[in-house]
């Protein structure tokens, strides 16, 4: 028998997680692992067969076929992740009614001028979308607070309907919902319109983060969500939770907030470490602290599931899907090469086009480098060789630190985060927040998946749901 290349990591329960370039994985206990390293076989025959079927070991007769299979799998994976399958983002305005102290997107004052999209650009934006990729299209309306310019959103929808054809696209509006009203609801009713909103916790936590002059961000959100659920249905609203220090202490608060609103699915993630996201040191925390929070949150969510309340945490689902589902690369922030431009094309209010939400934000912080692909009228995906450099430096397979990591086949790469924090795209993984977060998530979730069968069944449902 011949051992084939693999990487490994130790899980908390004592199991050892193995993976190879083809994306196969397996879990061994300590003694099986020692035997395997020593002699390319364990004393458990069934396990040996499994390790051979997953290309961790080969019989000598078929070594060339096994090598060919590993190569073929890696080629398939790389080409799959290189596919151009973008979400299209449009920023109708940078103005916002909120003044959140950790705003992830640069914002402008609600009364400011010069931060809105030129209505004449909409038709060109939509025709560019059509030119760039085949249907179906996902168009995400970002801000600022886009509902400040509902007229532009409607114009975008109408253009999409005439140029892309109904049924070929959906529009996701990313909004605080503070400006939601009945007219927007009735407009959305028979259209492919979805809402995505930030929910940071229950009233106290949410209002401390999401600052409106009227101090009632949560109450408005709650009312709007209720109306969306009543009028449009549960599939029309999704939440994103950015964990701030105040939530860190109270993981139950975010579960309660979702239950209070009647939403079963949550998407919880740490605050972005980009320089512009957390301006005050008080909002900072380590990934170790985050994982302590997440573990509590996770355990409570699982407990709810066992009691019959089918809560879902999407970050967990995304990480596990990357491991369990061959070819899953739909999530732009967890793939390698990075989803930059390949999975996102953003049309900014000022007609500039960017390869991700983060690059347009980096642009505001680092003014002397052009992060754009030009203006929508003169768009060129290759003119700015910055993107080629960023994408080509985002293959984690060859990154120091990643090449010996068991989670490399499932993980991603974020050259922009590394530029923002370390000044270069590859990053020192030992200091990288991206690495710490994802490595710990994989480690934690896989440990739970393999050490606790009842949890595994719940997690399986999340992945298949």
């Amino acid at each position: 028998m011949r051992m084939l290349p693999f990487n490994f990591d130790r899980l908390d329960s004592g199991s050892i997680f193995l993976s190879n370039v083809a994306g196969f994985h397996s879990c061994l206990d300590q003694s099986e692992f020692d035997e395997f390293i020593e002699s390319s076989a364990t004393s458990n025959r069934t396990l040996n067969d499994l390790l051979q079927s997953k290309l961790f070991v080969s019989d000598n007769d078929n070594l060339d076929a096994t090598q060919a299979a590993l190569s073929s799998a890696l080629a398939k994976k790389l080409l799959g992740e290189l596919e151009f399958r973008p979400i299209f983002m449009i920023v109708p305005t940078l103005r916002c009614d909120h003044a959140c102290n950790y705003c992830q997107v640069s914002r402008a004052n609600a009364k400011a001028s010069g931060y809105d999209l030129d209505p004449n650009a909409i038709s060109i934006i939509v025709s560019t979308i059509k030119r760039l990729s085949p249907p179906p299209y996902k168009i995400e309306i970002q801000g600022g607070e886009p509902l400040l310019r509902m007229d532009l959103i409607k114009a975008i929808y109408d253009q999409a309907e005439s140029q892309l054809q109904p049924g070929n696209f959906e529009l996701v509006i990313t909004t605080s919902l503070s400006l939601m009203d009945e007219s927007i609801l009735s407009w959305a009713r028979n259209r492919a319109v979805y809402f995505s909103t930030s929910l940071d916790g229950q009233q106290e936590v949410h209002n401390a983060n999401r600052i409106l002059p009227s101090q009632d961000s949560y109450e408005r959100l709650k009312h709007s969500v209720k109306r969306i659920l009543e009028e449009l249905g549960a599939n029309r609203i999704a939440t994103v939770t950015t964990v701030t220090r105040s939530l860190l202490e109270a993981p139950e608060s975010i579960i309660e907030a979702h239950l209070e609103l009647g939403i079963n699915e949550m998407f919880v993630r740490p605050i972005s470490p980009y320089g512009f996201a957390n301006t005050k040191p008080s909002t900072e925390y380590s990934i170790a602290e985050y994982m302590t929070f997440y573990e509590k949150l996770f355990n409570t969510i699982i407990k709810h599931n066992q009691e019959g309340i089918p809560l879902v945490e999407s970050s967990a689902a995304i990480h596990l899907k990357r491991v369990l589902i061959p070819g899953y690369s739909q999530y732009a922030d967890l793939k390698s090469p990075s989803g930059l431009l390949l999975n996102c094309v953003l049309f900014n209010y000022d007609s500039k086009v960017y390869g991700s939400d983060e690059t347009r934000m980096l642009q505001r912080v680092i003014g002397d480098i052009d992060f754009s692909c030009g203006e929508v009228n003169s768009l060129s995906l290759v003119k700015n060789d910055l993107y080629q450099k960023l994408i080509s430096s985002s293959f984690n397979l060859v990154h120091p630190g990643c090449e010996t990591c068991a989670y490399q086949p499932y993980c991603g790469s974020d050259p922009c985060q590394h530029i923002s924090l370390m000044g270069e795209p590859v990053g020192d993984k030992s200091l990288s927040v991206f690495c710490h977060y994802h490595k710990n998530m994989f480690r934690f979730l896989l440990d739970r998946y393999y050490s606790h069968p009842p949890t595994r069944n719940i997690l399986k449902d999340w992945c298949h749901g």
Binding site: D49, D64, A65
Partner: protein
């Protein structure tokens, strides 16, 4: 004699003997000759004069035959005076055998191979398909069709040229595709017409696959072949036959296909057919689906996870639990398909694959009661 869904072999009446060979069967007098095959006219028993047509080389008077064929079917007449309908417009599947030679010796081969040179079968198959002019799928089976390499390419060229609307489904062990040059030639032809290859993979443990297919080195060729074929864009239906030796491998075969192979258009999990060599070692091979349900479910789940379409072939519905019914397809060719008497009351009969006629006697696993579906229970 068990009643099959469609009868396909007929004894011809002794008067006016028909010479052995392939024929285009006509029920109406054709107005032009078919330059691929000679034509014979099938009439009912009542006497009627031989039509005065240059196109007809013979007349068969048999109402039994007439009632079972359609105008334009293809039949083969043997020296002993029987006619077998090989391509039928009434059939649920049509399959043409193009060789009996094979480089594998599968323990459960339904069509045990012969050594003799039989490349004339490829030529006859081409003519039969051209004469049949179907716009449906025709199955090509063997033996191993790709053994004749260059001649097989000529056969494909002939079909593409003369029966352009016919799609082909070719059963192969895939070993020939380990030759990249040959695989590329096939891939080129896949651009010109709809061709799918049904290729079996019985285990990712090379020695296990080799043992089941009775050929050392087969796994290596088949794996390299599947990789080449998929990469070159040849559509592949991956076939798995669970036996006592490999039922545990179903889900790893599926995971392997989804990670390492490309262009897998379907995964078919097939219940063993008790014909040919399978009968010899039936008790060492066959496993009732109920004894490996979890393996079956895991395999199906792995396919769904990877977005691979998955089907269960030849599983009577009463042998698998209800959650697997959506994957079971009516897959048994009608000429060897039957439903035992017990099935007559079953409300699911019309959706059920039923049984192989060959599964009678000691190979038969009787229908079981599906409580909610049987009348009067």
């Amino acid at each position: 004699m068990v009643e099959t869904i469609r009868k396909d072999v007929f004894q011809l009446p002794p008067e006016n003997p028909i010479a052995a060979g392939h024929y285009l069967l006509r029920t109406t007098v054709p107005d032009s000759s078919n330059h691929y095959l000679n034509q014979i006219l099938i009439k009912d028993d009542v006497y009627s004069p031989k039509p005065n047509s240059q196109c007809i080389t013979g007349v068969v008077r048999s109402s039994g035959l007439l009632g079972n064929i359609s105008d334009g079917d293809i039949g083969v007449v043997n020296a002993n005076g029987t006619l077998r309908v090989i391509l039928s417009r009434n059939a649920n599947h049509n399959t043409v055998l193009v060789t009996e030679r094979c480089n594998n010796r599968c323990l459960f081969c339904s069509q045990p191979p012969k050594e003799r040179d039989d490349d004339h079968l490829l030529v006859q198959a081409g003519l039969a398909i051209a004469a049949f002019q179907s716009d449906d799928i025709i199955g090509i089976s063997g033996g191993e069709p790709l053994l004749y390499r260059e001649k097989f390419l000529r056969f494909l060229d002939f079909v593409i040229l003369h029966a352009p609307s016919t799609s082909l489904h070719i059963l192969s062990n895939g070993r020939a595709f380990s030759d990249t040059g040959f695989a590329s030639e096939i891939a080129k032809r896949c651009q010109d017409t709809s061709i799918t290859f049904g290729i079996p993979l019985y285990s990712i443990l090379g020695s296990n696959h080799d043992r089941l297919v009775g050929a050392h080195g087969a796994y290596r060729d088949t794996i390299n072949g599947l990789i080449n074929a998929g990469n070159l864009g040849i559509p592949i239906e991956l076939r798995i036959i669970p036996t006592q030796q490999n039922y545990k491998d179903i889900s790893t075969i599926v995971e392997f296909s989804s990670r390492c192979l490309s262009n897998i258009v379907q995964v078919s999990i097939m219940n063993l057919e008790p014909t040919g060599w399978a009968k010899n070692s039936w008790h060492n091979l066959y496993l009732s689906p109920s004894s490996y349900l979890d393996d079956l479910r895991n395999g199906i789940e792995a396919a769904i996870e990877a977005s691979l379409p998955v089907c269960l072939f030849n599983f009577p519905l009463c042998h698998i639990p209800e959650d697997l019914w959506p994957y079971a397809v009516q897959s048994i060719s009608d000429w060897k398909n039957y439903y035992p008497n017990e099935c007559s009351q079953c409300q699911l009969k019309s959706k059920c694959p039923g049984y192989f006629t060959s599964s009678r006697g000691k190979f038969h696993h009787p229908p079981r009661r599906i409580e909610q579906c049987v009348n009067g229970t």
